[in-house]
């Protein structure tokens, strides 16, 4: 288990020197935490993000720690984020059944981080006129936990059918 986390952490540290990460014990086992500043373009703000990954079977979870996006948007929530009472959690990918944007063999450094950069770019454009140009489907009122449950259920479905 740990070597998956370590592989991801090594790749992140290698590519993003300004970031900080660690592997720590969570409720359900070890997990990876990675913090770094992202700037989608030179004209854009700098955002401090947190990536959490609890290993195989989970998708990485991204949170924008600062600035507070909800405050910048005057309390509004953009179409492509998970429901969250605290920090904004961008929805970056579509993982359902066999259709997966992200699988654990992909490096977070080469997928999740640049996707978050893109997401922030579209978020700033959304802030300017309320139009989401990044495409995709609205996650609705799902929290990331609810979304994860959906993934796990869709995981088990083929197995059930097999029985």
């Amino acid at each position: 288990m740990c070597h998956h986390l370590q592989r991801q952490l090594n790749a992140l540290q290698k590519r993003y020197h300004g970031g900080k990460g660690r592997i720590l014990k969570g409720k359900t086992g070890l997990k990876l935490e990675w913090r770094q500043v992202l700037q989608p373009s030179r004209l854009s703000r700098e955002y401090l993000i947190l990536v959490k990954w609890a290993g195989l079977g989970c998708i990485p979870e991204v949170e924008v720690l600062s600035p507070n996006l909800r405050d910048l948007a005057g309390g509004k929530r953009s179409p492509h984020e998970f429901f969250s009472k605290e920090n904004t959690k961008p929805c970056l990918m579509f993982n359902s059944g066999s259709s997966k944007d992200w699988v654990p063999s992909m490096l977070i450094a080469e997928s999740i981080i640049p996707w978050t950069q893109e997401w922030l770019w579209y978020w700033e454009l959304w802030l300017s006129d309320g139009e989401w140009r990044g495409g995709g489907v609205h996650p609705g009122e799902l929290t990331i936990e609810q979304y994860m449950d959906q993934i796990n259920n869709s995981h088990h479905q083929p197995a059930n059918k097999g029985k």
Partner: protein
């Protein structure tokens, strides 16, 4: 002249400068006439020319051509998208003597109106009363933009060189006639546009110097623009916005387009002649902006006042700033506007503010069409890159330059394009 606000812009990295210039050129892209509008206008004014030539007499050899901004590819659409746009045309009458009295000038202009009134096609479009130097034809709309054409008759200055390419006089209701050289000005500006700039070998910017090769009679296509044209459009639109701001005490004295265009053209020529090597069009733009005021000359008069001169490069006897001496508000207004535009550009391109702020500022400074231009550019840049699997990953941010070392970003969906 060192512009204080440009200090920060000068220090940007090469790729940031290219990105900034792309932003600037997209501010102006939505201000251009479209190819359809240009070609329809061209057809329309040529038809007017044939109609007039068919009337015979002094009109038989007339030649009609675009002068002013449309003739040099620096026109900007009106801020108010419902208002008409002026298209300035010259109607050259090579065999007619220029008027020497105001009566003659009036007669000439009213005659032209009468001839157009008699036409089935133009009869209900021509305005009954001339302006000071031209007659006005309502053209109607092309792709939702309304146009009217100001037709200024010109006659040879010297009957020995009657061609429109020589100096001319235009009829003038107040002064009988006034010396002018619209063809020469157009030629000067176009040649300034096509001046060679020494681009650094590393620079991936190349100007299309062949656009203006030869004598270009038709309206130039504005699809491919030179840095000079972009700068002039940018400045003119900023002036339009600045002028309509109700809090601006100088609004009524805003610098006229010919002054902005001439100073930018002269500054651009100087940059080209300096043989300085440029890495990117952004530095060139900053140099042009900094040089512009140096082409206004001041002479202190014995009574303590100042006489200003901005010479018409095509007609040195003409001073575009001749009114500045009598009306000190005019030079003050120029200074105020110039300070504002340089400060605004630095503010627009301030880094780390947020793309939403950049768009908001571009709307305040350059109007809503301009903001839409930037917005579309920013949206497309990333969408195109995603489509090509080429979004750029770097530790500092998505550079917008075509960095060859960019690592491809795997395709993904924001919660699925299903």
């Amino acid at each position: 002249m060192q512009v204080q606000g440009f200090k920060s812009l000068r220090q940007l990295s090469a790729s940031d400068k290219e990105f900034c210039f792309e932003m600037i050129s997209h501010i102006t892209s939505n201000l251009d006439l479209t190819e359809t509008q240009l070609s329809q206008l061209k057809t329309a004014y040529r038809a007017i020319g044939s109609y007039l030539a068919n009337q015979g007499g002094e009109l038989a050899e007339c030649h009609i051509y675009a002068q002013g901004s449309v003739g040099i590819g620096t026109s900007v659409k009106p801020i108010d998208e419902d208002s008409d746009m002026d298209i300035d045309l010259v109607l050259h009458l090579p065999s007619q003597h220029y008027p020497t009295t105001t009566d003659e000038a009036n007669e000439l202009l009213f005659n032209l109106i009468r001839v157009l009134k008699d036409s089935q096609r133009y009869g209900d479009k021509i305005e009954n009363v001339p302006k000071r130097r031209c007659v006005t034809l309502q053209y109607g709309g092309i792709e939702g933009q309304g146009f009217h054409m100001d037709i200024t008759p010109s006659m040879p200055e010297d009957m020995d060189s009657p061609n429109h390419k020589s100096k001319v006089r235009v009829a003038d209701i107040k002064d009988a006639n006034s010396p002018s050289h619209p063809y020469g000005y157009r030629k000067w500006f176009r040649s300034a546009c096509s001046k060679e700039i020494r681009w650094n070998r590393k620079s991936n910017y190349r100007s299309n110097s062949d656009i203006y090769a030869g004598t270009v009679e038709p309206l130039p296509g504005q699809g491919r623009k030179t840095v000079l044209q972009i700068v002039v459009q940018l400045l003119k639109r900023h002036r339009d916005m600045w002028k309509q701001n109700k809090q601006n005490v100088y609004g009524d004295c805003a610098p006229i387009s010919i002054i902005i265009t001439t100073l930018a053209g002269l500054a651009y020529e100087k940059c080209s002649n300096s043989n300085k090597e440029y890495q990117n069009p952004f530095d060139l733009m900053l140099d042009v902006l900094e040089e512009m005021p140096n082409f206004i000359s001041h002479q202190y008069q014995s009574n303590g006042t100042v006489k200003y001169t901005i010479r018409n490069p095509a007609l040195p006897t003409e001073n575009f700033a001749d009114k500045w001496h009598e009306k000190p508000m005019l030079p003050q207004a120029f200074k105020a506007w110039y300070t504002q535009v340089t400060e605004d550009l630095a503010k627009l391109l301030e880094l780390d503010q947020g793309l939403d702020k950049t768009i908001e500022r571009s709307r305040e400074m350059f109007g809503s069409q301009a903001a839409r231009g930037i917005q579309a550019k920013l949206a497309n840049t990333l969408t195109e890159r995603r489509a090509k699997n080429r979004a750029v990953v770097s530790s500092i941010g998505l550079g917008v330059s075509n960095a060859a070392t960019a690592t491809p970003v795997p395709k993904h969906n924001f919660y699925g394009d299903v």
